[in-house]
Amino acid sequence: MFNDIKRQMMAVVLSMFFALSTVLCIYSYIFLKNTKALLIDSYSHSISVFAESINKDVLRIENNSEDLALMGSLFYKAGQDKTIAKSAITKIFENYENSLGGGIWFEPYVVDKNQKRFCIYAYRNDQNKVVLDENFNSEEYNYHNQSWYRQIISAITKEHNTAWSLPYKENQGSEKLMITAGTGIYSDDGKLIGISTVDWEVNNIFLEISKMKPTENSFALFADKNRDYILVSNDPYLNNRNLIGKSLSNVPWYRDNLKQVTYYKYHNKKFIPYVKNLDNGMFLIINVPKMELFRNALIHVTILSIILMLISTLIAYLLHYILKKYIIRPIDKLMLIADKISKGEDVHITIAKPEEFAELASTFDKMTYDIKSITKERERINSELSIAKSIQASSLPSVFPPFPDKKEFDIFASMQPAKEVGGDFYDFCFIDDENFMFLIADVSGKGVPAALFMMTCKTLMNNMSQIKYSPKELIEAVNRKICSTNKQGLFVTMFVGIVNINTGKVTYINCGHNQPLIKTKDSEYKYMDLDSNIVLGAFEDAEFKVYESQLNAGDTIFTYTDGITEALNKENEMYGEERLKDCLNKFHDNDINNIAKAVREDIHNYTENVPQSDDLTMLIFKYNNKTVKKIFKDMAIKENYKSFYTWLHNNCQEWGLNDVLVNKLDMCCEELYANITFYSYPPKVGMIEVLMCKSDKQIILQFEDEGVPYNPLEKQDPDITLPPEQRELGGLGIFMVKEMADDIKYQHVGNRNVLTIIFNNEDN
């Protein structure tokens, strides 16, 4: 995804950061959840404790009430000493710290048959002193008619049974809102004779319950479920004071199953209700706003998360900073330096830390130095190689036409080298006045050794061709030389053609080279069918087969190296011999200078953009001389002379030669025929071969025999100014030949004497 180390490292750092953050988030979530549960539990616990204390208060009040009832019962039974009872009650209430007051109240006429009401009531006054209040016995008050009395006495069903009044406001004395617990006083015969009461000031309860405020906006409800009245409510959304003693239906959020509810919604806030049932049927509900309950936890978790996030950001930044300082910056520096070095600037690199990079930098520095020296060395080698390449290229003839005055033939050659100094070469030269040699060759291997070897081969061919060898001797001599100087085991494939430009007689030698193509008057280009010899440089004593043939005007020989046929395209397929042949046959331009270009273009189209891997070398030879040729071959004996001169005359007549020329030809031919017949073979008998050619402007006669090597041209001319008496009879003939022929030459090629005479045939 990211290709550069900087981004990769950033990605690592960022992913670490995100991983850390995710872990933190999960941790915070779990922590918060646990904290919430813990908080709920802990509040539940503290509220339970609180509720228990309220319950204890209730129980204590109920116990007090029972104590009082017991006392009332004793008072009734034990003689009804009012003084003792009053002081006892006063004493009792000094211990009952959380109650407002209380007393014992008897049913009408129970204590005294004349007195309807009898009660003893003590209360805690403003000075926190317990005093008796006698006013409750009054007619006006008439406690038997008070709601609390009636409620309690009607609720009591048996001994030790404590009942609670509804909240009421005492209109006598303190005028405080209170509720009263009462226990029945029974006589020995089990008759309910009165009640004891203990007053619990609602305001006190309210104050007590208001203490239980776990959070700022939590509120409580203290009520009696069985009798369906509200005792205390500090619900901030309700008019609490008016609710005292009212039905629970006035509390909108209240439901029976509130104990099972985790939270409820009230005034768009979530409240958690803690419901605690008391022993006397009352219950206490503390409603805690969920938000407030968890606010602190949330704040804590948030702060913790922020701190952890900050720490992880810091770690990420530190990591990034460290990476940047110790890895990315040195890498950047190295890159920058490398870039500068690649541009050829002379720079040194120093990195102090970390050690690895310091070491890398010094290695880099050393490498830079090494590269510089290597580059310098390589540049030197390259420049030398390019010089070598240009020397090599310039050693091949490159000016075409090379012999503008020779109309007998055209030659064109080209080498398009591959990158390296290659081993392909071509060459051509005149061996003598009329024999023209051309060759194309491919040295095995590439590079400098191949190039040097190529130069050797080329020079050898060139030099040795000037020695009067036959083609066979030439190639065998060159092979021997190559073998003797070739220690590297290199070899060369070569195709050589030697053409007599006058007669069109051609000799081919193919030394393991690609078969050339030839186009003749009668056919399109086709591959030659020459038996291939062994490559040059393989065996010193190798024998080479030569082929002789005749070229006619217009015949074209196309020679090439394997770089042409083995050129590869994108699919790794070779250009091939068929494609080459087709290309040549499609191309109808008679100017051979264009053939090589056409082939090159065809190859280029075939290979498209695949780089050239081997030299593309071609040499094209076209024979132009309109030679007509006749051959006479027979035993060199006098008896055959007649048939010889008949053959000669027939040729002359066929070609319409003029009498003067015919006469000259006649004389010369007779002389040369006689020479071979009388001097070359005797006492043995051998063959004579005469080639007679008519080209555009010449008549050429070539006499060949395999007799004693003899050059008649070396014979001294007779002195024709001498008087006839002193003149010799012999020597006239060759003198006449020399006189008459426009050109004459002798060669001893192989084991053959070759004498060529040429006559101009201007008027033809």
């Binding site: 002379y641 009498d659 006469n663 007779e670 024709i720 006839p724 009879l729 006239l732 003939g733 003198f735």
Partner: protein, 104 residues
Amino acid sequence: MQILIKNFGVNGLYVKAGGRLDLDSAVEYGTSIKDAIYDAQEDIKEVILDFSEVTFISSFGLKVILELYKELKASDGTLKLTKVPEQIQASFKMVGFDKFLTIE
């Protein structure tokens, strides 16, 4: 080659040959004339070679002529050539025979 040899006068010999005077025929030609000279009853002092029918002379023919000339000269005879076609005259000239041969 056809050779016609006639004697004329007392010591004259008239030779008329037709065709080519070359490798093939020169020896025969020379021999025929020499035989005629030897066979004659009188010394032959004058030989006339009629070249009107000769189409070609080669070095062999020339050699025969030179040989004949030398022999006649030695016996104070003369050699005359008559009706020599131009081409053949050119051949004589080439080898310098025109300087001593009497060509009519």
